[in-house]
Assembly symmetry: none
Homo-oligomer: 230 residues x 2
DNA sequence: CCTTTTGTTGATTGTTTTGTGACTTTTTAA
DNA sequence: TTAAAAAGTCACAAAACAATCAACAAAAGG
């Protein structure tokens, strides 16, 4: 009897599947495979899985449809795998609190780390989730809606705090202007608004806000949070 | 004489109740059952329970109403059982630190584990044992429904006292307008009511009610109690 | 039945936030 | 090296928000 966590890999690229399987099995995961949506559904009928790694852009848009189907029938965390950032909007519409998404350029180590993170988060309840995000100099107390720099509280506006929380929840992940606009400006708005908002956050959290090290800009793409959880 | 923990199961689906009862009795829990809100209230009148497992979506919205009633009369940890994620907002408004939330796809083993976790957490907290909340200048005697400022009793209206007690029980935690409306105004009502009520409490507990230090506002979010337990 | 207490609503005032435009600086690539 | 594009800064005005006072309605108590 195997008591390990089971992960279902769904990707039409066999090489990727095999690569990921090796990594995951090294980490004591039980791995199931599927190369298209139909196969995935078959596997899902016969097996109980803990988490699914899903390529969104398989032939025939079927990745998204598969996801929709799963969302209707069960509540399994999904890790979306996507080559392009543009699909993000669609994915966001389908994803739930336990989900995550990864760009294909990510290393297998990163993917494994994300899967572990998702499972850790999912197994726990809302109340059990760690609510203090500690990055050393910067600490976010989500429950108290408070940010502290070097121990002392610093006031953030609602939008600032929401933005910062999102960044802090997903360190080292790039958020594009479009993603941020979608999420915090209802899709309508100017890149400029993002820039200004980021600037205001930086003023408060950076040592030298002219040379930001905590929220860095990825030229032509967006922003990334560089903090490391303690 | 049975010295075990007592769990009340409330769900209109008898199968689920029976399934859960078997699992819980295997784990040496004392189990009480109810198939609707009315029955649940009857059971609650006659028995002391340690924890309640409550289906939120029973016929007639009665799950949430039942919860509201319990929250007004006693402080028992509730494990919310819900089929969908959408109910989360309402639940969050009613739940407290000790509570938890489970989706219906969870296995019985998971549910049992969660119940144990909730009881472990709940049993530890000494907040429940002490009936006097002492913040120095302000002392709340929750049982006696009495508040004292600098030793002398001050009159609070029922709503004022309930609000203040909630804040005092969970210092530094932000309560949003929505959460407060859910809990004290049956979900219907105006933000304004909250503001005014807070204003009246502040008049009584703050040194300078123009510059509140005990109940502070978190812009665009809600209120937070800043007192420190002695 | 009247008085008192308690809760809600409206109007007003003062404060905080936030998007925008003008302008500067940095980065990239030719 | 330079020009174009992207990012950053700053200040200002409009919009959103909170606090307060006062008036009103509803409930409770005698």
């Amino acid at each position: 009897m195997n008591n390990n966590r089971t992960v279902l890999l769904v990707d039409d690229d066999k090489e990727i599947v095999e690569l990921m399987r090796d990594y995951l099995e090294d980490e004591q995961f039980e791995v199931l495979e599927a190369y298209n949506a139909v196969q995935a559904l078959e596997v899902l009928e016969r097996n109980r899985i803990d988490c699914m790694l899903l390529d969104v852009m398989m032939p025939g848009q079927s990745g998204l449809e598969l996801c929709r189907h799963i969302r209707r029938t069960q509540d399994t965390p999904i890790l979306f795998l996507s080559a392009r950032d543009e699909d993000m909007d669609k994915i966001r519409g389908l994803s739930l609190g336990g989900d995550d998404y990864i760009v294909k350029t990510a290393t297998p180590e990163e993917v494994v780390a994300r899967i572990k993170a998702v499972l850790r988060r999912y197994g726990k309840s809302d109340t059990e989730l760690k609510l203090e995000l500690d990055f050393g100099r910067l600490v976010l107390d989500v429950k108290a809606h408070e940010a502290r720099i070097d121990g002392s509280p610093v006031a953030f506006s609602p939008k600032e705090f929401e933005l910062l929380s999102l960044f802090a929840e997903y360190p080292r992940q790039v958020f594009t202007y479009d993603q941020l606009l979608q999420r915090f400006w209802e899709g309508i708005g100017d890149k400029h608004s993002v820039t200004v908002q980021i600037g205001r956050i930086r003023e408060k959290i950076e040592v030298d806000h002219r040379k930001p090290t905590l929220i860095t800009n990825v030229w032509g793409v967006g922003y990334r949070f560089e903090g490391v959880r303690r």
